[in-house]
């Protein structure tokens, strides 16, 4: 029965190829646009996920904040009345399941760098300083660290110092000069080339360590020296394998609350990354909503086209309907026949739309460096929506066909 229905559907559509194709255009556009966007969105999500999961997921960040998380995302800054001590760090290190800890000195980005004050004669400027990481650097002038610097205070200045602060006429004038940082004298051995954000590709930007991109560099020994005088804003700890993150976190928070009962703020997880991730997802989500609206409109237009073509088809095939009814087709058989035709048209349109949409997203993905991802959900939802469109807009013509009086249909 289904097989016969399929055959007769196919035969009657084959007879009107061009007309059927034109009817499908709305559906094709609608489905193609939703597939383009959702496969790109999926690809973007995957990229973000893989880049954030590359950043230590086994690291838990505990910090102290004056304000507990507000769901509405309203934040105002208040100077913390507390910073962690070395004793606090020891206590956290003592918790079962904690493998290692390191302090977070805290700045806007978080991460492994310090905010320090630099004096050069009577010019005062502020620097972010990170320990030298042996990564490849490009120099405006000067050189990288070498053996001759061991045991001495040396610094490579980041170009950002001159980008955000125009107290120096010419960056080169600082090369080989001594500057004072937190009371220590540092020799400027090199100045980094200006960092160019524009030339970054999407994947390079994803991989970039944003916390240190603006930082000047000192040796690990100098860094440790400088950090002694810094307030510890948070404690980051690495977990041993198989340890429940939330349990350890809860214990650490408990210990801190126990030890510091007179503070006004809160001890909590610093989940900046997760928040950023969520913001990203929200942004994609609202973009998706917008595109869904566009899709809905094109499906509506396509659906009306289907309804129109089905009415034409029913009218043209009145006699056929009458004959089928005369030899025993029940009204619902006629209904299903026309419904399945409508659904077949829109499904075909939907599948073409999926193909076109995926090709488009591959093309667009090439420009914005996102590899689109086609998930089974995207495929099933697109096909499902296509069939639904056919059924919804085909039902009225199909119903009118099924209600026809056989004699009037035959002789008209």
């Amino acid at each position: 029965m289904i097989g016969n229905l399929f055959i007769s559907t196919f035969l009657s559509l084959k007879a009107h190829k061009l007309r059927v194709f034109l009817t499908m255009v709305g559906i094709i556009i609608g489905i193609a646009s939703v597939v383009t966007i959702s496969t790109l969105g999926e690809g973007m999500k995957k990229q973000i996920l893989s880049s954030t999961s590359a950043m230590n997921t086994d690291v838990v960040k505990l910090h102290y904040t004056m304000q507990q998380d507000s769901e509405e995302g309203v934040y105002y800054y208040e100077e913390p009345d507390f910073s962690f001590s070395r004793i606090d760090m020891k206590k956290v290190q003592g918790i079962d399941g904690v493998k290692a800890i390191y302090p977070e000195y805290g700045n806007f980005y978080g991460g492994d760098n310090l905010q320090v004050q630099m004096n050069y004669f009577n010019i005062v400027s502020y620097l972010q300083v990170a320990p030298n990481n042996n990564a490849e650097k490009t120099f405006l002038c000067g050189r990288d660290f070498n053996e001759s610097d061991v045991g001495k205070n040396a610094i490579i200045l980041n170009h950002s110092l001159f980008d955000y602060d125009n107290q120096f006429e010419n960056p080169e004038e600082l090369l080989d000069k001594a500057v004072s940082i937190n009371g220590y004298m540092y020799k400027v051995i090199g100045i980094l080339e200006k960092f160019s954000y524009e030339s970054l590709s999407q994947s390079e930007a994803m991989a970039l360590d944003w916390t240190t991109v603006d930082s000047s560099l000192v040796s690990r020994a100098s860094y440790n020296e400088l950090s002694k005088s810094q307030a510890i804003k948070g404690i980051n700890f690495k977990l041993e394998e198989g340890v429940d993150k939330h349990e350890v976190l809860a214990e650490a928070i408990g210990i801190m609350e126990e030890s510091h009962q007179d503070v006004k703020g809160f001890f909590a997880e610093n989940d900046m990354n997760q928040k950023e991730m969520k913001q990203m997802e929200d942004a994609i989500g609202s973009l998706t909503m917008f595109l869904m609206a566009i899709t809905a409109i094109s499906l509506l237009v396509g659906g009306i086209g289907v309804m129109n073509i089905m009415y034409v088809s029913v009218t043209e095939r009145k006699r056929e309907i009458g004959i089928r009814r005369a030899i025993g087709a029940k009204p619902r058989v006629i209904l299903f026949q026309f419904l399945s035709e409508a659904a077949f048209i829109t499904l075909l349109g939907g599948l073409i739309g999926v193909g076109i949409g995926y090709s488009l997203s591959m093309l667009a993905g090439g420009f914005i460096e996102i590899i689109p991802v086609m998930t089974p959900q995207i495929f099933l939802i697109s096909s499902g929506v296509s069939v639904m469109t056919g059924v919804i807009f085909g039902i009225i013509p199909a119903f009118s066909a099924s209600r026809m009086d056989p004699i009037k249909a035959i002789y008209n």
Binding site: S8, S12, E320, R325, I327, K330, I407
Partner: protein, 235 residues
Amino acid sequence: MEEIGEKKEPLVVLKNINKYFPAGKEKLHVLKNLNLTIYQGEFIMVMGKSGSGKTTLMNIIGFLDRISEGSYFFNQQDVSKLTENKKSEFRNEYFGFIFQQFFLINSLNVIQNVKLPCVYEKKKSGREQNELGKKYLAAVGLGDKAKSKVTELSGGQQQRVAIARSLINDPLLIMADEPTGALDSETGTEVMEMLKKLNQHGKTIVMVTHDKDLTRYATRVVYMKDGRFLEEAIQ
């Protein structure tokens, strides 16, 4: 009543039926107080001028139209108030229709047309349907045309396909409304011979015709005039 060898089963019993069609504010009285009983094995011919109500009568007997007044017993069963679904089932199971204009479905090929009533019956497997379709196509002499397009056939061939289609569900009644009307006399005779053979094998046939010559095939002839049977009109 039940004499041996004389047993007659009434298949169709129409009692005092009237049929009106709406015509503007008036009603058109098309069938006027008709009584008709059709027995199994009969080959009845209905004759009469155009517009006398023959087709309307055929439609009523074949559950394609409903009566305005009166009663209709089919196979001993009161069928004046059947649902659309039930009427579809009855048409499918008990009736074979042959029309003047053949009324095949052009988008289907010959065998698909022939087995369509069987498809709607939903009782046989696809294979059985095909077998049966081939058998009836062979019976009307078109065994080699199964896969042909309907439009490639001559008028006489198309009517034979329609006859095969009307037979495939082994109906109780064949309803043929001017089956030779669109054929030349030679092919018309072929079709009539076919119907005659069917009747000889026990099929009950009701046929409308204008052609007086064809009445020789009939076991009974009724004449219609202005919605009445003529002998009643005379009475």
